[in-house]
């Protein structure tokens, strides 16, 4: 409590704090629309807004490096992968009839519980921590790199090994039948466009043909 008394307080918010709250509201709204909209592709696009909003929050906290990596990985790659998957399988214009599964209440309960846990933990851990935005930048590339490779080297290396294992695993899975076996059977594995693709020259076209057919039906 003594430490908390030394805080600048919330009664006279600065411009940055106001913007932070506003962007947070927009991000939250986009996230809610992402899970409630009935149009699948719209959900993916609202996810872009939500993830971009989080990047802006990082920027406002001077964590510039994390902000750009967030845009690069999540908006630039994860959402593109998501959209690619949706377009490859089933993404009708308008409402997706099978977008709702029956476990809506369970999902809501899990979401609220995890949100409550996270908020409690973060508030408890950083209650007395105050970022001085006017002083030195604390999230620049130099500072991030230093703390990453000085204090957090072991977790960093462990994560690298994990990611490498996942990468090798993906390659092994996509090649399990040997390079010649990718025959007439339906290829559902998106990884097949990767290293295994050269074995079957016309694979992309035959692969997308039936998919776009069902798609056009879904639109009518």
């Amino acid at each position: 409590m003594n430490l908390a008394a030394a805080h600048p307080g919330f009664l006279s918010p600065t411009g940055v704090e106001i913007v932070f709250v506003l962007v947070g509201v927009v991000t939250l709204a986009a996230a809610v629309i992402t899970v409630t909209t009935r149009k699948l592709v719209h959900a993916a696009l609202w996810l872009v807004v939500a993830l971009g909003g989080i990047a802006v929050e990082y920027l406002l906290l001077t964590a510039e490096f994390i902000a750009w990596v967030q845009v690069l990985i999540y908006v630039g790659s994860v959402v593109v992968l998501l959209l690619f998957g949706l377009m490859l399988t089933r993404a009708p214009i308008g409402d997706s009839p099978d977008a709702d599964s029956g476990n809506r209440p369970v999902a809501l309960a899990v979401a609220l519980a995890s949100a409550a846990t996270l908020v409690t933990v973060v508030v408890d851990a950083f209650r007395t921590y105050w970022i001085d935005l006017d002083a030195s930048v604390q999230g620049s590339t130099a500072v991030t790199g230093e703390s990453l490779f000085r204090h957090w080297v072991l977790p960093f290396e462990a994560l690298s090994v994990l990611l490498l294992a996942a990468l090798v695993g993906a390659i092994v899975l996509s090649r399990k039948d040997g390079p010649r076996a990718a025959g007439p059977g339906p290829v559902r594995d998106p990884d097949a466009t990767g290293p295994a693709a050269p074995a079957a020259p016309d694979q992309p076209d035959t692969d997308t043909g039936p998919g776009s057919g069902t798609d056009a039906e879904g639109r009518r």
Partner: protein
């Protein structure tokens, strides 16, 4: 840095954004014409048809703006803006002259530039899906597959330069630049430029818009001003890619009399690269979809990793 200074810089970036892509477009008309043994558009404006692009722009603005009946209206209309605006943002961070000759120095410049460039591709995906057209959907799919394949080698090649310079800031990289970096990073430069061409869907990587197979890919249903925005995004993309390659691999403003003529060197190197982009369009046939994937995964990624290893070894040796 006061308000006037910021405003002036932003206006300068905006002017560059509005003129340089048009210059590249006009050069493409002329260079392609001469390489194919014809003269190209010669009448508009008098001297060698210099006003042809202005006339094209007027034509685009006059056309009716059509949204197909079955399309998803809002996403369809938003897509061209999503494709175009990221390139404007990227231009802000590209240094063109020494000592503060940059719209806004960004600390993690490489990440900023590559991240924002990746967002532009969302525009093609949105257009491809929202058009409710099989050809558009195929184009969008190809765009997505191509982006996922070429983002990795591009990042790795850029990371190699960041390792060499010891910083991720574009201005910092140029400050640390030495002439022998050009031969040292030459593999990375080729990988970066090729992957950038693929990300812009320029020939020989233009399977997503292949007009003889899928009409015009994701842009099939677009007309008028919105189509012009997509075209402008392509040319702005050429400018951004060439400027970035110049900054990362060719020393940017470095050259004789760099203190005064730095911006001339940047422009000169950028335009030579833009010429190469046009040259490739005229001289190389389109790669098939599986060939595009093969080039990325079995060609560019190993080459980029080789460059990173080379950079690391040399960096350790010279320290």
């Amino acid at each position: 840095m006061d308000v006037l200074d910021v405003a002036l810089r932003l206006v300068a970036v905006l002017v560059a954004f509005l003129t340089l892509p048009l210059l590249v477009g006009q050069t493409e008309h002329k260079v392609m014409a001469h390489m194919q043994g014809r003269v190209g558009p010669m009448y508009a404006g008098g001297f060698h048809g210099w006003a042809q692009l202005v006339a094209d722009g007027v034509k685009f603005a006059q056309k009716e703006d059509i949204v197909p009946d079955g399309a998803d209206r809002r996403v369809f209309q938003l897509a061209p803006a999503v494709a175009l605006i990221p390139y404007l943002l990227v231009l802000v961070a590209i240094p063109f002259a020494p000592d503060g000759g940059v719209g806004q120095a960004v600390d993690a410049g490489i990440f900023f530039v590559l991240a924002v460039m990746g967002v532009g591709v969302l525009g093609s995906l949105m257009g491809g899906w929202a058009s409710a057209n099989k050809f558009s959907l195929l184009g969008g799919l190809r765009t997505g597959a191509q982006l996922m394949a070429y983002e990795l080698p591009m990042l790795l090649a850029a990371a190699s330069v960041a390792m060499a310079a010891g910083t991720a800031s574009l201005t910092g990289i140029l400050d640390a630049f030495e002439w022998w970096w050009v031969p040292w990073q030459i593999i990375g430069a080729l990988v970066f430029f090729t992957a950038g061409l693929a990300e812009l869907q320029r020939p020989p990587f233009d399977a997503p818009v292949a007009d003889s197979e899928i009409i015009f890919g994701a842009y099939t249903e677009y007309t008028g001003l919105r189509f012009a925005f997509f075209l402008l995004a392509e040319y702005a993309g050429i400018v951004v890619l060439c400027a970035l390659t110049t900054v990362l691999f060719l020393g940017g403003w470095h050259g004789p009399f760099a203190a005064d003529l730095g911006w001339v060197w940047t422009l000169l190197k950028t335009s030579v690269l833009a010429f190469v982009v046009i040259w490739l369009r005229v001289s190389y046939p389109r790669l098939r979809e599986d060939q595009i994937q093969r080039v990325a995964w079995t060609g560019l990624v190993p080459l980029a990793l080789l460059q990173i290893a080379l950079t690391g070894v040399v960096k350790v040796v010279i320290q």
